[in-house]
């Protein structure tokens, strides 16, 4: 019972965090075809900025979460303007820029903080007990924030004017441009949203699992898997693929140990990708 509850909460938290980080990556990728390999590092940097705000400057935790999101969102706008926009449509140069960003940010964090594993203070204390099962409030709050943000983002994408413009651009960039949509403004906005979501996820995971300078590499692989499993251009697919990956990552360690379960999870993803190269909900793009 205890194990089952722990597994289910783990599954929900991991899935919501994966989806949260992957959504920002997927928006930018769907709209402009930018393979933002630096997204994992942005997530890592978000966690560290949150930690700096809370522990060094003594900001209230919830305020720190919002300030981190705004700072990293502004950084996202900067990245989109100066690092991605000049190279849209050129895969090789975007990969080079992203590797440069990864190296610069990881080295900076390494120099300023060091490689030891740090942790944000928990957002809420205490344990909820229902019958035999017990869940810490920390996990509930983490999942609740993730679910709330996902709901807000989905509302924004489907209902708000700018969100609908985002969808229009990802369907046909030239057509959207001819309809009078300001493509540059919307892509800057997309980058802002993506980086802000990644930063919030970084803070939440930092409180839940801990922070390290190389945590970005791990999540980068996860979001790449998620986006390609879901299929390019599909938002609904990201939710389902996120649940699948979260399930794999939380259930497989129960059966085998450590690296073997990771190897099995990667193997399953490769096989799924070979069965349906265009993903489960997307369409194939020629690049």
């Amino acid at each position: 019972m205890e194990l089952a509850v722990a597994t289910v909460t783990n599954l929900l938290i991991l899935s919501s965090m994966y989806i949260l980080v992957a959504l920002g990556f997927a928006f930018l990728f769907n709209m402009l075809g930018i393979l933002n390999l630096a997204h994992g590092v942005i997530y890592m940097l978000g966690g560290y900025i949150g930690l700096a705000l809370i522990s060094a400057m003594g900001v209230n935790q919830w305020a720190a979460l919002i300030i981190t999101a705004v700072i990293m969102g502004a950084f996202g706008i900067f990245l989109e303007r100066f690092c991605f926009r000049p190279f849209v449509g050129n895969f090789n140069r975007i990969v080079m820029v992203c590797v440069a960003i990864i190296v610069i940010l990881q080295t900076t964090v390494n120099i300023l903080v060091g490689t030891q594993i740090l942790s944000l203070p928990p957002f809420v204390e205490g344990v909820l007990r229902v019958g035999l099962a017990s869940v810490s409030y920390e996990r509930i709050v983490t999942f609740a924030i993730g679910a709330f943000l996902l709901a807000v983002v989905m509302w924004f994408v489907n209902r708000a004017k700018w969100g609908q413009q985002m969808q229009a651009i990802s369907q046909d960039i030239l057509g959207a441009f001819l309809q009078g949509i300001n493509v540059h403004r919307i892509s800057a906005l997309t980058s802002f949203i993506g980086c802000a979501l990644a930063a919030i996820a970084g803070c939440l995971i930092g409180a839940y699992l801990g922070l390290g300078p190389y945590m970005g590499d791990f999540i980068l692989v996860k979001i790449l898997m998620l986006v390609f499993l879901a299929g390019i251009g599909s938002i609904r697919g990201i939710f389902i693929a996120g649940l699948v990956l979260g399930t794999l990552d939380s259930v497989l360690p129960l059966m085998t140990s450590g690296a073997a379960s990771d190897a099995v999870a990667v193997g399953i993803v490769v096989v799924l990708l070979l069965i349906r190269p265009q993903g489960f909900f997307g369409y194939e793009v020629e690049m």
Binding site: L35, L37, P86, F87, N90, F91, N92, R93, V95, M96, V97, V99, A100, V103, I104, Q106, T107, N110, I111, D217, V221, L224, M225, F228, G258, A259, A260, D262, A263, V266, G267, V269, V270, L273, L274, P277, Q278, E284, V285, E286, M287
Partner: protein
């Protein structure tokens, strides 16, 4: 009928002579460099040159594999395990590991031949990550997280012998891969890269040729990895992980993916720079990153295009024009 005049172009002789001279100069370098540390760096440059050039060879088929570091790892671990657990000498393990790596690459290439472009890149990336996890999960056989130790040394403790061995290996591999581009297989691959539909309509079997080129690329990746295993005698999975693959891709891209000399120049420049900036300790990765940014923003075709850019800058200035930057 036009009588065919034999073209006596001096450049046909000059270029190979120049390159042969370069190889002779590199072969004579140990006379000038007395420190074993410098020799060590140059040996590593030789090994990574083989890997980077073979990575570029796969990309002439129009696909971008992101598993080359992992294939190097497969070769390295095969050679290391054969040497440690079976006690085979290096002159058996290195060719054997290269051939088995090529076989694995072709087996993997068979299902992957149906993926194209970004999907191929991502599929191979996930495969590479899976390989590293298998190495981690291998327990005592692969050494797991601690790494594989106790691989049989190759040529004693003499760095000079290693230097000439890897120089020979690199020169032979690079010449073989250069010739490969102009054989029938290489030309067919270039046709596939331009348009896989047009290529298959004239009878080029796209899937089979792509499997073959992955086999060729993986052969040399396995060769480089196996040589690395015997040279270093200690293996760690971190050497072949996702970031290592990305750096291998950077070696190719920074030199220029369109020309054969690109990966050689890129590997040499980037590795020398990262070694010479070692005095800066934790600040040294900034140097490589700044070089990457310079190449991205100023040299779209990679470092190879630097002479051409300088020349065009001078000629344009004479005409009194400004260079139009490509968008």
């Amino acid at each position: 009928m036009i009588k065919q005049v034999p073209i006596k172009d001096r450049r046909n002789v000059a270029k190979p002579a120049l390159l042969a001279g370069l190889v002779v100069i590199i072969a004579l370098l140990p006379l000038v460099l007395n420190s074993t540390y410098m020799l060590h760096i140059i040996i590593l440059i030789f090994i990574y040159n083989i890997a980077a050039v073979s990575l570029r060879t796969i990309t002439i088929s129009g696909q971008f594999p992101l598993a080359h570091g992992a294939f190097m790892g497969i070769g390295a671990y095969l050679a290391g395990m054969a040497s440690k657990w079976l006690g085979w000498p290096f002159w058996i393990t290195i060719p054997a590991a290269a051939i088995v790596t090529a076989g694995i690459g072709m087996l993997i290439g068979y299902p992957f031949a149906r993926l194209r472009a970004l999907y191929y890149a991502m599929g191979s990336l996930f495969f590479g990550i899976g390989v590293i996890f298998i190495v981690y999960a291998g327990g005592i056989w692969t050494g797991g997280y601690a790494g594989l130790i106790g691989i049989g040394p190759m040529l004693g403790s003499s760095k000079l012998a290693h230097y000439y061995f890897f120089l020979g290996l690199a020169v032979v591999s690079i010449i073989a891969l250069y010739r490969f581009e102009f054989c029938r297989l290489g030309v067919n691959l270039k046709a596939i890269a331009q348009s896989h539909l047009a290529a298959s309509s004239v009878g080029i079997n796209e899937g089979w040729y792509r499997i073959q080129v992955v086999g060729v690329g993986c052969f040399f990746a396995g060769l480089a990895g196996a040589g690395y295993a015997h040279y270093n005698t200690v293996l760690s999975p971190v050497t072949f992980n996702f970031m290592a693959t990305l750096w291998l891709v950077m070696y190719v891209l920074i030199g220029g993916i369109d020309s054969f000399a690109g990966p050689i120049i890129g590997t040499t420049v980037l590795m020398i720079i990262s070694e010479f900036s070692r005095d800066l300790k934790e600040y040294s990765p900034y140097i490589s990153a700044v070089l990457l940014l310079i190449v991205v923003y100023l040299m779209p075709q990679g470092l190879v295009s630097l002479p051409r850019l300088i020349r065009s800058a001078f000629t344009e200035r004479k005409k009194g024009k400004r260079i139009a930057h490509a968008p």
